[in-house]
């Protein structure tokens, strides 16, 4: 029986969905729109269109998962940073992905692909 669906209305969605990509990028430090798209292209190979990017930013800010960074703020290139709730949400999404990756690896008989997140070593 599945423990929890990877995608739910309250959750962030799957690994390649914009909210997860944006939170992952912001977990490495605050960034403005263009810097976010470049970073996401670099680590995920996904190019987010401007409409998709700002749609996701709007939802994430509404949910209090990201906020404008007041430090070093330039009016037109406002950077965003991840909030405490955002970290918790991203952590949950990463755990889900980890479980899925572990399950897949186990069924394929190729062992654990990456060290388990938060698992005692």
């Amino acid at each position: 029986m599945p423990r929890r669906p990877a995608t739910s209305k309250e959750g962030l969605g799957r690994s390649n969905e914009p909210p997860v990509l944006i939170l992952t990028s912001l977990a490495g430090g605050s960034k403005h729109g263009y810097a976010l798209t470049k970073d996401i292209e670099l680590f995920a190979g996904v190019t987010l269109g401007p409409g998709t990017l700002y749609g996701a930013i709007t939802r994430l800010e509404e949910r209090g998962l990201i906020e404008p960074d007041t430090v070093g703020r330039e009016e037109r290139r406002r950077p965003y940073r991840i909030t405490g709730s955002g970290r918790v949400a991203l952590e949950g999404a990463v755990r889900d992905m980890q479980r899925l990756a572990d399950e897949g690896a186990q069924r394929l008989g190729i062992g654990t692909i990456v060290p388990a997140f938060g698992r005692p070593r």
Partner: protein
């Protein structure tokens, strides 16, 4: 040039969103495509889709950004839009089924007769319900005017008033002329009358469309008390039920006539254009398509209202 490009794209977003994120999005477009570069078609379409989504969210039509009151209001708006489509479908059906009983054997009339009556009664009740809803909304509309909100709805309301007046005058003139014509002239014998009939139909549909736009604008701008909003939402749900009954009546009539009097369907308006069919005449296909589209809107509005009510509805 670049400013024009950005403004064109940003216009798809609601003004509140633009004032919050507009400058950032402009900066992103500038960083990404350069000061004079063109935005690829895919990204343009993405911006259009995202802008429309933001508008739908701001209006409470989708998502959970808005509170229960706004969602209830959005649900009611969807039902009103659905009703407009069903009204057009009903008018086409009324014209198509004109004199249907003369072409149907007496013994086979009862199902068609019963379902035809159901359509007529449900349609009339729907119209009455719409008028009562308009009456219920009058105090809230008066408050909207008092607090200076008239400017935001003046244009659509004026356009609807002019459209309805023009359609009424054209319809009255057509009716007056029709009384002086023979049945043959009225049914294709006189091309000028046929052309005027089409013009009046187009005017009536335009008037209905403008009236719907005006009603939507008024509903979106006025702030009715919680109780009034609940009453209007309940009426919208009842209207959806009537639309469902109307659709069922049309389908029952259609099936009955197709089985017992296919000649009626063949000789109805639009018969033979663009194809000849005793069972699926083009006019009834249009009626069916319009009714299904209207029902989809109305039922999605009803679901929106029901979900908002489950969240507690508008607070007093």
């Amino acid at each position: 040039m670049r400013a024009d490009r950005d403004e064109r794209l940003l216009r798809w977003y609601p003004s509140r969103w633009r004032s919050r994120y507009g400058d950032e999005l402009r900066a992103l477009l500038e960083d990404r495509y350069g000061p004079a570069g063109g935005v690829p078609v895919g990204d343009c379409l993405g911006l259009v889709r995202a802008g429309l989504t933001e508008r739908a969210r701001e209006g409470g039509f989708v998502g959970a950004s808005q509170g229960p009151a706004e969602r209830m209001r959005a649900g009611s708006v969807l039902v009103v839009c659905g009703w407009a489509l069903v009204l057009v479908a009903g008018a086409v059906f009324g014209k198509f089924s004109d004199n249907w009983s003369t072409g149907t054997p007496r013994a086979d009339r009862w199902v068609a007769s019963w379902s035809y009556d159901v359509v007529a009664v449900a349609g009339t009740l729907g119209c009455v319900l719409t008028l009562v809803a308009a009456f219920v909304a009058v105090p809230a509309f008066a408050r909207l005017r008092r607090r200076g909100g008239w400017a935001s709805v003046r244009r659509p309301v004026a356009r609807a008033a002019v459209g309805v007046a023009a359609a009424a005058v054209a319809f009255g003139a057509l009716l007056f002329w029709a009384h002086h014509l023979s049945s043959h002239d009225r049914n294709g014998g006189l091309p000028v009358y046929g052309a005027l009939f089409v013009v009046v139909c187009v005017a009536a549909v335009a008037a209905l469309a403008w009236s719907t736009v005006a009603a939507v604008a008024v509903v979106r701008h006025m702030e009715p008390p919680a109780r009034t909003l609940r009453v209007l939402a309940a009426m919208a749900v009842a209207l959806s039920a009537l639309m469902l009954v109307t659709f069922a009546g049309v389908v029952a009539w259609w099936v009955s006539e197709a089985l017992h009097a296919p000649g009626v369907l063949l000789d109805g308006i639009g018969g033979g254009v663009p194809f000849d069919s005793r069972f699926v005449p083009p006019a009834l296909l249009v009626v069916g398509a319009l009714m299904i589209a209207g029902l989809v809107l109305a039922l999605s509005g009803t679901v929106r209202i029901a979900r908002a009510a489950r969240l507690g509805g508008p607070s007093a």
